[in-house]
Amino acid sequence: MEIELQEIRDFIATIPPFDRLPKDVLDILTSALSIQYVRRGGNIPMEKDSAPTLYILRQGAISLYSGKDNLMGMLGEGDVCTSFCAAEVMPDFYVKATEDTLLYSIPCDTLPRLVEDDQSVLHFIRHSAAQRLKEAVSNMQEQSSSNLLHTYAGDICRGELITASPDTSIRDSARLMSEHGVSSLILLDGDEPVGLVTDRDIRKRCVAAGLAISSPISKIMTRKITSLNAGESLFDALLVMTREQVHHLPVFDDRGLKGIITTTDIMRQEGLSAVHLSSTIRKAPSLEALAEASKMLPRIQLQLTNMGADLRHVGFAVTAVTGAITRRLIALAEADLGPAPVPYAWIAAGSQARREQTSHSDQDNGLIISDKMQPGDDEWFESLARFVNNGLDACGYVYCPGDVMASNPKWRQPVSVWQDYFERWIEQPEPVALMLSSIFFDLRVIHGKEKLLKKIRKHTLRKTPGSQLFLAHMTRNALTHRPPLGFFRDFVLVHDGQHDDTLDLKHSGLVPIIDMARIYALAEGLYEIGTEDRLRAAAGTPSLSKGGSANLLDAFEFISNLRLEHQATQIREGESPDNFMPPKQLSKLEREHLKDAFKVVQTMQATLEMRYHTDRI
């Protein structure tokens, strides 16, 4: 390649999958390109019967259609079009330039030779969306296995910092430490940390050495403080602790002393933090204490994400904490109200039931009460429901906007009424009513008698597999959330060329998969509640092929991990976590993988649509 072509090579070098290629291979690739200009409205390829070709957009935009005016995607500057790489293209597929477009094209048959059989490039060109997604997910899993490397000292150090002046007596210092339940104390002269003292120092340098406990703490403190930067990883912390033979490390950030991390903190990183929080919650004496403890939840989610945990782990941990808070609230209420008049079950619906909660989501709950319930008993249950619903709201689980809460009399009913509800939903399905009630097909008992829900579920799952109209309505509702077509420049391409500024990872990514998994489970009468469990259990049944299941699992994992990372960034920056991702924050590669995930979801939605003939209801 002539060195003067560098500008073209540098452009190619930023585009996946070519971004991984070494310079000399990029040089060869650049020389093999040819440049074409397509006027707005012009066809791509420009010539009929052209050989399989890969296109790279240098400038302009193209639209991909299947059948007349059915837009499948749009590509802009720096996007790669692989649609014409296959020898045979779908008969009704066509591509048009939507802007004046400058294209780089390269014949596919020369590619393997040019890229020296680089597998990632060939993979990108030859494989389907589902295959590429699978690769991406397994790469992601590999990367996330080293946890201490990806957790930062600043993220886990204790926020509450216990300090004292160096003049404080050893006795008062020890008292202060016991009061706050800490094993170390930082001694400050004004704002300046001048020393550190630990339990061990008091034991060795004072008690064992026979030093008077009225002596100032400065006599036994360690003056040379070994510290850590907030941006250093726990792996660094572990190295420093091992090297310096210390168990406590003060952590500093730009603003000064941020906190302290201990060896215990590092051990806690092995996933024990959620367990630890749950035990704090179990002991919380009041609603205030509970609300305080619940503030830890985003931090736990952040820690787990930094450790490389996926949705399964985070969802379990977060849901466990929500469950613990709910149970503690119920215990506090029962302590006040006295025992329940009849047996009951406090049920969670939606993401809490599926154990897929992240951070603080809306609350969705209800009460199933024993049929032995007497008139007048409801007063007790109403008080319980109000207390728990208000308590959850105070703990950051805001009231359900759809009023799916135990405080709503409709969702606080005896078994027989719940049974009727389900029967009506299944046997006389009405689209609107079903839309609201679909979350009741994901239920889990949080507290109380499991048996009460079990009876209802058994009954329900016996009926759903044969109820075609019910399943058709469920399907039609599920199809209201469609994944976007892809990305176009810094927009999310929704449909008909419409753009969104942000990508709603929940509603356009996860919800369609969650909804489909529910339908497979109901169609096959499966007891599983979690989305991944449902997809696995339904694999190989008439409702879902093994391949379809594997593809949806990959898509679900990819999108949920992206959401976890997005929320971790938000938590780290002190924002409240949400599901909205601006496309600008996505790397080119993530966009490619997301597009593949969307494609998988689209395919499966189309299959479901055909199966239940949703167009005929």
């Binding site: 390649m1 002539e2 003067e4 074409q36 200009y37 006027r39 012009g42 400058l102």
Partner: protein, 230 residues
């Protein structure tokens, strides 16, 4: 105009008689592309010269960039760039414009080798340049110096095509509008950072493709519609 086109091929034959054996004669031995043939089937070589000034008699060539167009495609594999070795002192001012250093010049090709190579590549092709008078003028001057004969070149000038288009639409225009950079912008072509003879030749070739795409031809147009006439 047609008589001039006719003359071009006649001139080639006449020049062939007087050209000394060597690169120029070789160039003139191949017939020029048929003016009635389809433009898309014509071999085109986009050419750009960096020079020390605009006067072909007194200024000299610093570098040459060229690239081929076939069937409405720019073929990057054919891209060539040459820096020309010169014994003459090049003024500091122009060095900064063209980003060519004295060292590069010292390592460059001799004018004779560079012209020989460009004539070989132009053989049987149409020359494409933006404001082609400069490229043609310098090439003729170099041939005159080297071989004692100044040849003719069938050429397409993207600047002239742009001017003709504006005049046809009876639009008033400023000279500035006809600059390569501004015309490219008008056609939505990228603004290249690098300004070397090769990227400028590519920039010219892309502009030409854009001009063709915007030409609204109902059927493939013949070469003669595009040829530069003085």
């Amino acid at each position: 105009m047609l008589s001039w086109l006719f003359n071009l091929e006649t001139k080639r034959k006449r020049l062939l008689d007087i050209a000394p054996a060597g690169p120029l004669r070789n160039y003139l031995e191949s017939p020029f592309p048929d003016k009635n043939s389809c433009l898309y089937d014509t071999a085109v070589l986009a050419l750009d010269f960096e020079t020390s000034g605009l006067d072909a008699n007194n200024d000299h060539l610093l570098s040459i960039g060229c690239i081929e167009l076939r069937q409405n495609r720019i073929i990057l594999d054919t891209a060539r760039h040459q820096i020309i070795h010169s014994k003459r002192d090049i003024s500091g001012e122009n060095i900064s414009i063209h980003h060519i250093t004295h060292d590069q010049v010292a390592q460059g090709q001799t004018l004779a080798k560079a012209v020989e190579s460009i004539l070989r590549q132009l053989q049987g092709k149409v020359l494409l340049a933006h404001h082609a008078a400069v490229e043609i003028g310098f090439l003729q001057q170099a041939c005159k110096t080297l071989y004692g004969v100044a040849p003719v070149f069938p050429a397409i000038d993207t600047m002239q095509l742009a001017r003709r288009r504006l005049e046809r639409q009876q639009q008033p225009y400023k000279a500035n509008q006809l600059r390569l950079f501004n015309l490219r912008k008008q056609y939505g072509l990228p603004a290249y950072q690098a300004h070397n003879a090769l990227m400028d030749a590519i920039a010219t070739a892309e502009l030409f493709l854009a001009q063709l795409a915007h030409g609204n031809y109902r059927k493939p147009p013949p070469l003669k519609n595009f040829l530069l006439h003085p």
